[in-house]
Every structure is written in C-alpha cells, then in structure tokens.
C-alpha cells in the first residue's frame, strides 16, 4: 500500500516536471502577453513609453473608439473580410475538387498528383509571393501573356486597387488548396466503399451517390477545413506585405487587419493602438469560430 502511494507521488511529480517547460513557456509567451495586450490596448503606450513605461496613460476604451472612426481601419477590415469570404470558399472548393479527382478509383499515379498539388503548401510564402509579383507584372508577366492569348486585355493586377485584392486571393488559393486537399482525401478514404456499392446496386447515379453519401459523411471534414481556413485567412499578413512592398497599397487596397496592426505597432510604435487592433481581430476570429461551431452543431442535429 505504501509502495503504491509512493509510486503515485512519483508519477505526479514526474508529470508536473514534464509539463512544466511547455506550460511555463506558454504562460510566458502566450497567456501573460494576451493579458498584457488587453491592458496595453487601454493605454496610449508609444515609443516614449518603451523607454519609460511610466509615461503611458490609461485611455480607457479610447483606442477602440478611435478605431471605429478610422476609415483606414474599416478599409483594412473590409479587405480582410473580402479575403476570407472570397478566398476561403475559392480555396476550399479547389481543395475539394482536387480531392474528389484524386480519390477517383480510375486515377493512375494518385500519389504523384498529390505531391504536385501539395508542393505550393510547403513553399516559402515570401519567396513565392516574390514570384507571383512578377507573374502579375502588367507588361512582362506570364499571367497577362496567357490572358492575352485568350484575347483578354492586360490587367494591372497589383497596381489597380480594384484588382490588387483579387490577385492576392488567387495567389493564396494556389498556395493553400493542397493542405485542405490532403485532409479531404483522408476524409474521403474513411467513407466505406461498401456504401457506394450498395447505393449502386439500388440504382443510384453518380450525382445521387455524391449527394446522399459523400456530402453528409464528409460534412465534419468540411467544417474542420472551413474553420481552419477561416481562422488562417483572417490573419492575412505576408501576402500583401510582399506583394505591396510592406505598405498594403495601392491606396490601402491590400491593407489587412494584421498588416495594419504591424504598421501601427512596429513601424509607428503606437503600441496601445496596435493592441486594440489585435483584440478586434481576436474578437472577429472568435465570433467566426463560434458561428461555425454552432453551424456544425445544427448540422449534427
């Protein structure tokens, strides 16, 4: 009996010892900073306060109120929503489409195609953004050359405020669809082949089989993919940073909330204001997460 309890104590000690480094790091670099960010967002912490924190003053919700009246912030929020609402569905449909193709039983070398489609995911964003910057070049770009063959006139992809955000969406879809595709393929593989066989015997056509077997059984995967894509896309930063030379131009057309926060915080050192931007972003992501979880629960019922 004594031996057992001393074992238990040793186990508990070891458990605490093993989780300690991870949890301490998370406390230091995640939990504490989030609380600090909330406090900072209520102050006018700036460049001077970095040298002497006592110069920062509490401004209550002043930073948030100013954001609400800042047209640049609304522009950034609008751009980010555009990216999420247009880029998200585009990316997820490409992922699903390619997964369905790959998963077809007649396909030869599915592994090869999978690797090719997945390649953009592991590439370095900054590097491929530099590549796309030249693909989008109005005169020398490959994209306009290809469109020219189809008789479509040259588009100033990154210079025209109307086209700059769609250009970013297109690049992001290319870069990211492979990741979701892999998850969809895993989801599709988990659907038992016997269900399709049974439906075929019952005389169901391909479209009907897709609607009554694939769609409902893939729904959880779909929601997972939708959620992670949404969360990731709300944090849009490096794409517009590189494609617009760090500014979010032309005319703030590609300024995202995260880029706006970066500029406020790390370029102008308005840390209090930047912290409030970060929290608005957090709130938006949290709301989107809760909304999708609710949809999921509604779907399960």
């Amino acid at each position: 009996m004594r031996r057992l309890s001393s074992w238990r104590a040793r186990e508990a000690r070891a458990g605490l010892l093993l989780v300690a480094p991870g949890l301490l790091l998370l406390a230091l670099f995640l939990a504490l900073p989030v609380v600090a960010a909330l406090l900072l967002s209520l102050t006018d912490f700036d460049l001077y306060a970095i040298g002497d924190p006592s110069t920062a003053r509490l401004v209550g919700l002043g930073n948030y109120a100013r954001l609400l009246h800042d047209p640049v912030f609304w522009k950034a929020l609008g751009n980010t929503f555009f990216f999420v609402l247009v880029g998200g569905p585009l990316t997820v449909s490409l992922s699903l489409g390619s997964a369905l193709l790959l998963n077809h039983r007649l396909v030869r070398f599915p592994g090869l195609f999978r690797t090719v489609y997945f390649a953009p995911v592991v590439t370095t964003l900054v590097a491929v953004a530099a590549v796309w910057r030249y693909l989008y070049h109005p005169r020398f770009g490959l994209l306009n050359a290809a469109l020219g063959l189809l008789g479509i006139g040259p588009v100033d992809w990154l210079g025209d405020p109307q086209w700059a955000m769609p250009a970013i969406v297109l690049m992001a879809a290319w870069k990211n669809f492979g990741a979701n595709m892999i998850i969809f393929v895993a989801g599709l593989k988990a659907i038992p082949e016997s269900l399709y066989e049974a439906a075929r015997i019952d005389g169901a056509g391909p479209l009907q089989r897709f609607r009554s077997i694939t769609v409902p059984l893939l729904a959880p995967t779909f929601l997972f993919v939708g959620l992670t894509t949404t969360i990731g896309y709300f944090q849009l930063f490096a794409e517009p940073y590189v494609l617009s030379g760090g500014e979010g131009g032309p005319m703030n057309a590609t300024l995202s909330v995260a880029l706006f926060m970066y500029k406020q915080g790390f370029r102008w050192w308005s840390i209090g204001s930047a912290a409030s931007i970060a929290f608005v972003l957090f709130a938006v992501i949290l709301a989107a997460t809760l909304l999708q979880r609710r949809l999921q629960r509604g779907g399960d019922a």
Partner: protein, 274 residues
C-alpha cells in the same frame, strides 16, 4: 471508346491541367533564375533562358552575402525543431499517461487557448523580449514558438497508444519516471516526433513576420527577411529575385519530398477528432 475510358481520359486531362497550373509558377521561377539580367523583362515573357547562366546565384552569394542568411535560417530552424520536439513531447506524454494534479483543467485551458491568434501576443512578447535583452537575437526568434499547443496535442494523441503495462513493467524494474520517458516513450513515439520536427523546421524556415520584427541587424536576418528586403531594393531585377526565391524554396521542397509521409501525417492528424 467505352464510357469508362472516356471518364478516365477526362479525369486525367483535368488532373494534368491542374498539375501544369500548379507547377507553372515554380517552374518559371526556376527557369528565370538561370536567365541573364533583364532577359525576363520582355513581352511576351521568355519561358526558358536563351543561355542558362549561374550569374544570379553568384551575385546572391558572392556580392549580396545571402549565404549568411541561409546559414541563419538553417541554424534557427534546426534549433527550433529540436527544442520543440523535446518540450512538446514531454508535455504531450505527461498529459497522455501520467496522473498529476489539475491535469484535466490544464488541458481544457490549452484547448481553449487554441483560438487565440498569434498576433494578439506579439506586441507584449516583443516588449518582454526587449526587457530580457533578447531583441535582435536568435533566442528571441525561436523561444516564443517552442511550446506549441498543437504540438502537445499531436504527441498526446500518439502517446495514448503506448501500453500502460509497458510503463508499469519498467516501474517495477525500478526505472525512474524520467528514465522511462527518455528511453521507452521517446523511441516509441518516434514517428510523431519526426512529424513534429519536420513541421516545426518548415514553419520556422518559412516564417516571416516574427523574424522581421525581432531581427534588426541584417547580419542576423533569415532568408525570408533578406529576400523581402531584396524585393524592395531590387524590384527590377527579376532574375536575381527568382534565384533568391529558388534558394529559399528549394530546401523546404526537398525536405518535404524526403519526409513526405511524416509531413502529411501531421497535417491530417490535426483534423482527426478524438
């Protein structure tokens, strides 16, 4: 032609078209990196160099000293991967197999914290690193990212399958808990640790925002930061930029090709519900 053959033809045509579009930007990057300066700036853009040259790569490594950034990125990614594997493996195993006070509550807390976007912590973390004197240091780049909730989950899921009998047998033989972790659990969890290591290595290698914020001295820059800076200064030098992009992308792609299995397992593991 039978219907089956037609379907197969259409299917493969679509797959090949998709593959061409997917690879086109990467192939053009590679091709343009071997062109002479100014060659790519023509209309219509040339697909292949008239005469392949390594001049751009020479310029990058000899004059612009990109080799230093390459070394920086490699060292940072290796250190981050190693540390992350050890720290998250320890926590993941403990959450899976060891009973200790507040385990359940701590784990629920971690679950909840997963929704916090990284940007929220960035400003205070920067101020914290500054007070620790770690701004413009490699430690400042990797330290905040070592412990990862996702990594802890990944290991915890895998470690749950380690049989309790095995651990108890080791205890009866008189092995200490740390010894059990080090010489029994870690080897058993090797597949998931490789996955975690690859994911962390590539995540660090590809990361841009954080090294951009932390590293002020260009001798310490990573490849991504150097490349973004080059893109600002050498915006007209298409071929040079493409060579820089190749140098940055290629190691990540090669690592992925060699360790594809582990990488893809990691991505799909995150999607599987408990």
């Amino acid at each position: 032609m039978s219907r089956r053959a037609l379907t197969s033809l259409a299917l493969h045509a679509a797959l090949v078209a998709g593959a061409v579009v997917t690879l086109a930007p990467l192939l053009w990057m590679l091709s343009a990196s071997f062109m002479t300066t100014g060659e790519a700036n023509a209309s219509p853009p040339p697909l292949l160099p008239a005469k392949a040259t390594l001049a751009q790569y020479r310029e990058l490594f000899v004059r612009l000293d990109l080799g230093r950034s390459f070394v920086n990125s490699t060292v940072l990614a290796l250190c981050a991967a190693l540390l992350s594997v050890v720290v998250n493996a320890a926590a993941g195993y403990a959450f899976a197999k060891l009973r200790f006070p507040a385990r359940g509550r701590l784990f629920t807390g971690l679950l909840a914290a997963m929704v916090i976007p990284g940007q929220v912590a960035m400003l205070p973390v920067f101020l914290l690193l500054r007070s620790m004197g770690l701004v413009n240091s490699f430690a400042g780049v990797i330290l905040p990212g070592i412990a990862s909730i996702f990594g802890i989950f990944l290991v915890r899921q895998f470690a749950s399958s380690v049989p309790d009998e095995l651990l108890d047998a080791a205890r009866i033989d008189g092995a200490g808990e740390l010894r059990i972790f080090w010489s029994i659990v870690l080897p058993l969890c090797r597949p998931i640790l490789v996955t975690l290591g690859v994911l962390t290595f590539l995540g660090t290698w590809n990361d841009f925002m954080w090294p951009l914020i932390v590293l002020t001295d260009d001798a310490k820059w990573t490849l991504t930061v150097s490349l973004a800076s080059l893109a600002g200064e050498h915006v007209q030098d298409t071929e040079l930029m493409m060579a820089g992009a190749v140098v940055t992308v290629l190691p990540a792609l090669l690592l992925f090709l060699f360790l594809q299995r582990s990488y893809i397992d990691g991505i799909t593991a995150g999607s599987i519900k408990e």
